[in-house]
């Protein structure tokens, strides 16, 4: 006799036994993503995209390996009846991808390409990074965020917080207690003829208690300064933008209360919108000091260093007019005084630092703990450079 075991809801509810293994798999997936992030960042396609875009990311770490055949010998397949030699039946996949003709009974032939949204990717990337030296500002609670949260009830309060349902209930409760209760007690309608009125009493009134939820967070402003002069060719601009893109995404992911200011400069500097900053090109000579002066102007005007944590980052190829160097150094020193961190990324693709002048060496003379300079030569450098800026060791210096 055949046994039929009927569906049992309770079994189904408690038998999510793959949960643990799925979780572990996802952990591995995330880790693998993080390990490969430098390569992913180097892929042109993600820079400057909107955040809800889905991107495909090749995953290496979570593949399972065993001895398998390569595809040098090809395979066998069934056709539609008219297959001729020489016909093309598919694309050579990337390595490890199963050809169309592999019999489907080999275990675990897997290729891996996962789809995630840029948002998710950004989140994974920045999981263990933080804007450095944030916590040092003593005014950190001044600009904390306020959201009122409901927390219980109380007898006193302002009218707008009156909880009408509870108030009505407590009146009924009182009515029942006084012994006047009949079935009509539950009916909120106008009192019937001859029935005694039973008004609300002050004791019935119940108010919602609202408690402000103070989240401690710092105010921060990030000033992105980019060189858009003529010497910044396409690749250099691309690298600079990649760097700022990361910075921008990171700041947006990490802190609710961060303002970002974009400054583009060649011989003159101006404040631009995010859109312009990432997509527009300009030309002309380079006066680095102009960018710094603009940044200083903005900081003085809007972001008082007593109240704001200020981060300034500058990307340039360092090909500055010789005459401007002294001024640039002065401005940089001023910025260092105002900022929690002033970062300089010099973009020198493919050995161009042999013939172009560089600010990197010059800036090294800058005597400030909160100054950080990195060199970006290739696409692959963008992520490590970014990381090194962000995970800069916290030194107990410059306590004011």
């Amino acid at each position: 006799m055949t046994v039929f075991r009927p569906y049992s809801e309770s079994d189904a509810l408690r038998s999510d036994r793959s949960a643990g293994d799925r979780q572990r798999h996802r952990e591995k997936l995330r880790r693998s993503l993080r390990e490969n992030i430098a390569d992913i960042i180097a892929e042109e396609s993600i820079i400057g995209r909107t955040r809800d875009r889905i991107i495909k990311v090749p995953i290496r770490g979570v593949r399972e390996y065993r001895f398998v055949y390569g595809d040098n010998e090809g395979g066998v397949g069934t056709g539609k009846g008219d297959t001729r030699p020489g016909q093309i039946v598919g694309q050579s996949g990337r390595r490890g991808q199963a050809g169309p003709g592999k019999a489907g009974n080999a275990p675990g032939e897997d290729y891996y390409e996962t789809e995630i949204s840029l948002d998710e990717l950004v989140e994974i990337m920045f999981e263990d990074l933080e804007l450095p030296e944030m916590e040092r500002k003593f005014l950190r609670e001044v600009a904390s965020e306020r959201i009122a949260k409901r927390k219980g009830y109380r007898r006193q309060g302002v009218r707008v917080h009156l909880d009408r349902k509870r108030t009505a209930r407590s009146r009924i409760r009182r009515k029942v207690a006084t012994g006047v209760a009949t079935t009509s007690a539950l009916r909120p309608a106008t009192p019937a003829e001859g029935e005694e009125r039973f008004p609300f009493h002050k004791r019935d009134l119940i108010y919602r208690r609202l408690k402000p939820d103070i989240r401690e967070e710092s105010n921060a402003v990030v000033v992105c300064i980019m060189d858009t002069s003529g010497s910044m060719d396409r690749l250099k601009k691309y690298l600079a933008r990649s760097f700022f893109f990361l910075l921008y995404q990171f700041v947006r992911t990490r802190y609710d209360n961060v303002q970002v200011v974009f400054v583009a400069h060649h011989t003159q500097a101006r404040e631009v919108t995010e859109e312009e900053f990432f997509h527009k090109c300009e030309s002309g000579g380079t006066l680095i000091s102009s960018g710094y002066r603009k940044a200083l102007e903005i900081i003085h005007g809007r972001y008082h260093p007593e109240l704001w944590n200020i981060y300034a980052f500058h990307c340039s190829d360092g090909d500055n007019f010789e005459s401007d160097n002294a001024e640039a150094m002065r401005a940089a020193a001023e910025l260092c005084e105002l900022c929690n961190l002033f970062g300089y990324g010099e973009i020198k693709p493919m050995g161009s630092h042999y013939y172009e002048s560089s600010m990197l060496e010059r800036f090294r003379e800058l005597d400030a703990d909160n100054f950080q300079a990195v060199l970006i030569e290739r696409r692959e450098d963008v992520w490590p450079a970014f990381r090194s800026l962000m995970s800069r060791e916290k030194t107990p210096a410059d306590e004011r």
Partner: protein
């Protein structure tokens, strides 16, 4: 959505079993469990087992299967049968009545196959299947919970063991000679034959049999060999190797008979469903579903499709539908063959033409058809096909020496048959092998027609041609 009750299922099961008996199928007692989609995906990820040890790869399998279903890949049946006695199968709660009836009929086909095919009979003990999986799961969980071992160590070791799980003997019906027998055979080989002309010529001095070599004969059971010969392994590690090997052993018959088995079940569900005289609505739905299951996969090989076509052809050639001769032939074949022999014996040229089988090769960015099943080259296509069914998809790799260079290095040889190993996989897998063995590992193979030696040593992976 649900258009059936348990009573409907019992009714149709009753009718189906009448047909099963009438056609002469020989089945284990059958049990069905009705489950929802989530549970079904769970069973599929864990090879259908109600109890199985945890490992992240099953979480990955779950996600992959779920993705496939979510994207609605057609023709994937919601069906799962376990080779056990009594035979256990799962039915999806959300399936229509027609699909339930079809699945039940299909399951009886598998059931009969499990009970009678020689690969299953020799490799597995169906009465112990579920209990054995449960016991193994319990053992692994114990190691995970043991504070001196822990989840991480177990996972790491399982990662390595899984990589080599199927590098074991495939034909379980052939008994493996014991060490004594191998020794005796070596001595036997070295013993000179009695030479009736010994007095006429000087006989060659007998060769010393090499009895100190480990292993005596090339060894295919890599995990078991490591278990028995790596003295530095802890008991729990040895046990994990046993566990992984036992599971692989359980799955080998399934791999060896994928086409036959699915074809057989499809053949019988088709026959049974026709014999049931279904109401018209059910019958029409059945035809649609059946065609989904056995539809060809252009450019690939659908085992349901190929198996079904070959079984039908055998029946036609050996006496036609419902003839006693054909029936006898079918039953004999389902008992004594596996995919390779099945296709070698019964995949005729006409059938290959009907299936339009062809071989392809990568050329540049494309996969290009090289041979089709015409007069000239059908035999080549067939030979290529036979090499990649069953366990033919897995490279044969044997241990030749466990004391290579006198430094306990492991020396293995890939029995090359024209197909090169995939290098990324080879590199990683050798890395795992070195982890398990604890010493350097060398693998001899061929790359682009040249002998090559792959190795993982202290300085990492290396591949070089050795002429």
């Amino acid at each position: 959505m649900k258009d059936w009750s348990l009573r409907d299922l019992e009714y149709w099961d009753e009718r189906i079993r009448e047909k099963v008996a009438e056609f002469g199928l020989d089945c284990f007692p059958q049990e069905f469990e009705i489950c929802d989609q989530e549970a079904m995906l769970g069973y599929m990820a864990y090879h259908g087992m109600p109890a199985h040890y945890p490992h992240w790869s099953y979480g990955k399998a779950f996600e992959q299967i779920k993705t496939m279903y979510d994207y609605g890949v057609q023709g994937l049946p919601y069906e799962m049968v376990i080779n056990s006695d009594p035979c256990l199968a799962y039915l999806m709660r959300d399936n229509s009545l027609c699909l339930q009836v079809l699945t039940i009929a299909h399951v009886y086909g598998h059931n009969d196959f499990f009970k009678n095919n020689f690969t299953f009979r020799t490799a597995t003990d169906p009465r112990q299947t579920l209990a054995a999986f449960k016991a193994r799961a319990d053992r692994v969980r114990r190691y995970i919970e043991d504070p001196s071992i822990g989840a991480e160590a177990v996972e790491r070791f399982l990662d390595a063991a899984h990589a080599l799980a199927f590098n074991r003997r495939r034909n379980i019906a052939i008994r493996k000679p014991s060490e004594e027998e191998q020794r005796a055979a070596a001595i036997e080989r070295a013993t000179p034959r009695p030479d009736p002309f010994a007095h006429l010529h000087a006989s060659e001095p007998p060769e010393e049999p090499e009895l100190r070599r480990v292993p005596l004969e090339p060894e295919e059971d890599i995990l078991l060999f490591i278990r028995d010969h790596n003295r530095h392994l802890a008991d729990w590690q040895r046990d994990l190797l046993t566990i992984v090997d036992e599971e692989a052993r359980y799955f080998i018959p399934q791999m060896e008979t994928k086409i036959m088995n699915e074809g057989w079940a499809s053949f019988w569900h088709h026959r049974i469903m026709h014999a049931l005289e279904l109401p018209e609505a059910l019958h029409l739905e059945f035809l649609v579903r059946h065609n989904q299951v056995i539809c060809p996969q252009p450019g690939g090989l659908n085992p349901y499709h190929i198996g079904f076509v070959v079984w039908r052809d055998i029946e036609r050639r050996f006496g036609g539908e419902d003839s006693a001769e054909a029936r006898e032939k079918l039953f004999a074949v389902r008992e004594a063959d596996r995919d390779v022999s099945f296709l070698r014996r019964f995949l005729t040229r006409e059938l290959m033409q009907e299936l339009d089988l062809f071989t392809w090769r990568p050329r540049g960015d494309h996969l290009v058809v090289t041979k089709v099943s015409d007069e000239e080259s059908w035999q080549e296509v067939k030979a290529a096909l036979l090499r990649q069914v069953g366990t033919g998809t897995l490279p044969v790799i044997r241990i030749l020496d466990a004391d290579h260079h006198g430094r306990r290095a492991l020396y293995l040889r890939h029995e090359h048959d024209g197909r090169d190993l995939e290098m990324t996989h080879a590199e990683k897998t050798l890395g795992y092998l070195r982890e398990l063995w604890g010493q350097d590992v060398f693998l001899e193979t061929r790359l682009r027609d040249k002998r090559a030696l792959l190795s993982v040593t202290e300085s990492g992976f290396d591949a070089k041609l050795i002429g």
